[in-house]
Symmetry: D2
Subunit: 261 residues, 4 copies
């Protein structure tokens, strides 16, 4: 059974900027979904900011194995309730891949617990990505480095927590470096941040970038059923304790009462 990938695009500059529209006539989300659908392992569809609930309904999320997120100009327009809903699906096991300017997406900041800031420069300079974790599943089939002749620069320090693994580090012609591929886990959900993808350059048409995206979708997929009631904090009554104990001392809670939260 193929992995269901939903590619979320904010779909703003594709509509308003001629360069972007020409590079990505079906939107960046469309180009990414097409690249995934060349591989029988995946069934990729798209969703955008402009759809009701930004296309991120409970039903849609429930059938999404891996969510790819690209946003930039309209982070602030994403509804907080939708962000929380997406976060719960990640905790319950949905994979998520955050691309480029999604470092400032509400959902990424929500999952990281940090500012996720960086330095930047839009100069079409050369970026060279180095694989720092040889034979990592996300780097499968890649050379030990690859180049994007025109990219926006992102520079360290990148305001994120220490990752589980650093998979790529970028070299920029202007003199900066950046941790461009980072893995995290949040609950049962695998999280991957991948740096490249400024909308005025043809980055998502690059073969190596497409390889990373396919690898990342396979890596992020957790085949287990979603964890149910993923934010619950269940009480374990004394009488069902695994070892025989007796209740002792003063109590705050009556039998069967919920905890505070």
């Amino acid at each position: 059974m193929p992995i269901n990938v939903t590619v979320w695009g904010e779909n703003v500059h594709e509509q308003s900027n001629e360069t972007v529209a020409e590079l990505y006539p079906k939107g960046m989300h469309g180009a990414i979904a097409d690249a995934l659908n060349t591989d029988k392992r995946f069934t990729a569809t798209t969703a955008t900011l402009q759809e009701p609930e930004h296309g991120m309904t409970q039903a849609r999320l429930a059938q999404t194995d891996v969510l790819i997120w690209w946003g930039h100009a309209a982070h602030g327009d994403v509804d907080d309730a939708v962000v929380e809903r997406v976060a719960e699906h990640v905790w319950a096991g949905m994979g998520i891949i955050l691309l480029h300017s999604a470092h400032f997406a509400k959902i990424f900041k929500r999952l990281m617990g940090t500012p996720c800031n960086l330095t930047w420069r839009e100069a079409g300079e050369r970026e060279r990505l180095w694989v720092t974790s040889r034979n990592h599943p996300i780097a499968a089939g890649l050379p030990d480095h690859f180049e994007l002749e025109n990219e926006e620069m992102y520079g360290e320090p990148f305001g994120v927590p220490e990752p589980l693994e650093t998979v790529f580090i970028s070299w920029f012609a202007g003199g900066e470096v950046f941790r461009s591929g980072l893995t995290y886990k949040r609950g049962a959900g695998n999280v991957f941040y991948f740096r490249p993808g400024h909308e005025t350059y043809p980055t998502y048409h690059d073969a190596n970038v497409q390889t990373v995206l396919r690898n990342a979708c396979a890596w992020a997929h957790n085949p287990a059923p979603r964890v149910s009631r993923v934010t619950d904090a269940p009480n374990v009554p004394v009488e069902s304790a695994l070892e025989p104990i007796e209740a002792r001392g003063p109590r705050l809670h009556a039998d069967g009462e919920d905890g505070f939260r």
Copy 2:
């Protein structure tokens, strides 16, 4: 110069529950501050939910090296703007120590990016904490394990990200285990979660627990000045690039324009 510790207590059950009031006549926050002030390395003061801005003004946070947080019944009453303010101070370098039921405090969930849930049982059972990281600064002066004869049980799975280090793991008489001492870093701020401290038991009068609290304050203290403008994402103009480059390709941003966020 001593380390400035602010002990934040929600101060609810101390006012409404006779057992808690008797155990902690100056509040749990008061008892913790007293325990720290026996050590010349610290100057500890308290703040509570009921104060204006919950006592967490910019001025107060700016002079706090390490913040200790205990909350339980009134997590929902903590103002979101205050939570964000505290988070920014952590990112900028303020240490923070979360105690017991603060696993569900807004500030902890904000910093972790996960549900922070667990299982629980209020039965006054025996808890035994094992040091899993020998000679960790937070475990200095402790035996290899110590017991609290009456504590609330917290059980795994604990809904937090993988920590930097696991310092303590608890054994409970009823059959559960729990990662009771976990370190994290968020920006320049050191974060420590410590499990014990149910309000109906005399946990914060325990000598070993007080040792942990003192150690944790020393460990969490980052002597560097706060990072200024900790959420900024500064543009680096082409003309000030560290290596000579020329702007190329189509652009989205005009010179000097801010990035999107």
Copy 3:
């Protein structure tokens, strides 16, 4: 194509101790291989200490996707050259699973860089393993905890580096806890340590334990071809630098010379 698993057993107590021989007539390695071979994903075979090169020839390792290692009484009899050979295969991408008393196997200590010590008690006491990472692939299909009625106790502190992930923590009837399932990565090789499996108890006949072993083999398998020349440190001559540079300053090495090691 099935995953090739080689189950290595030291095969000493199976020959010398009546209890062990009765519990595991085909050896512990035989029982484990049988448990894996019930699953079409795997082709499991065995190797033992007594074979030439302990059965760990280059050819055998080259066709092994995942190596399972159980040893106890004869750690010292394992040849250092074989240990180094196994380590190189792990770095190049072979998965490895270390069981129980293999915490003191030369290969585990070699990969960890630490003493890998612990406390222990052979009293047939109850062990309860808690899943600490919900829906981790290694915990697929397991309940949130499971019990082994008779096991040897291993207690913290466990002298290993901080793991990538803690998957299981054990509770023991005698009052100890232990991190019983830990993941690591060494080069391209996935490493899993799993605690249960004292030879005088029927642990490897337990259904939950067998589930863990199958899950762990699938998790540890890195489908990429082995990294070739995995310990090399290649020189990159100036004339093939990716960006044009000129050699400057005094030099230690002549052109084409190898580095020191």
Copy 4:
């Protein structure tokens, strides 16, 4: 009481290579010790390969709080017994800082459990180190980046385990990147690898590099007394179990017997 730092130098090229001898008339170890001794927090002395037991006697290690290690041409001449002795002191709490070509030192490979390999080029090219962990104690007082106009290049992939923290990443003029400042913990010992320091360049006279070395010594120092018997695996007899249990089932070991190792 000042922190006792021992700076170990292999002291080979200082004796055989004119450039190195001129740059470091007291040896690289001497220059580093001098830089530390300008700071009252430290008492730094030196030891070299040529001394009996390479200067690494039990007595010397016992009084060393932090060991700095620089080696290159003579890694193979370091006695294995000395390497193991140093490793035991690290596990017991001695800090260790590995510099530059010490990536291939026996002690570093012993502590990492990996090949520790990389790519390299000796071309005197520009290296720019970026701080990736703002306000990390090891980066105290540094700008957000600093340059070394002439350095040897080291390139990724660097064959080490995922670190606890990445503190520095280097940009090289020839197009490579490298994780130049990495923290680890092995037992109670703090470990820091720092990349710069090729012997034909004046790197250890650089003010920023000296700041890193001083910061790293303060960071690596664990003030707790050494862990005694750091590799022991003590038996806990049934009769001294913390919770009352009775021995059950078949046994391998007689009372009071040592475990296998």
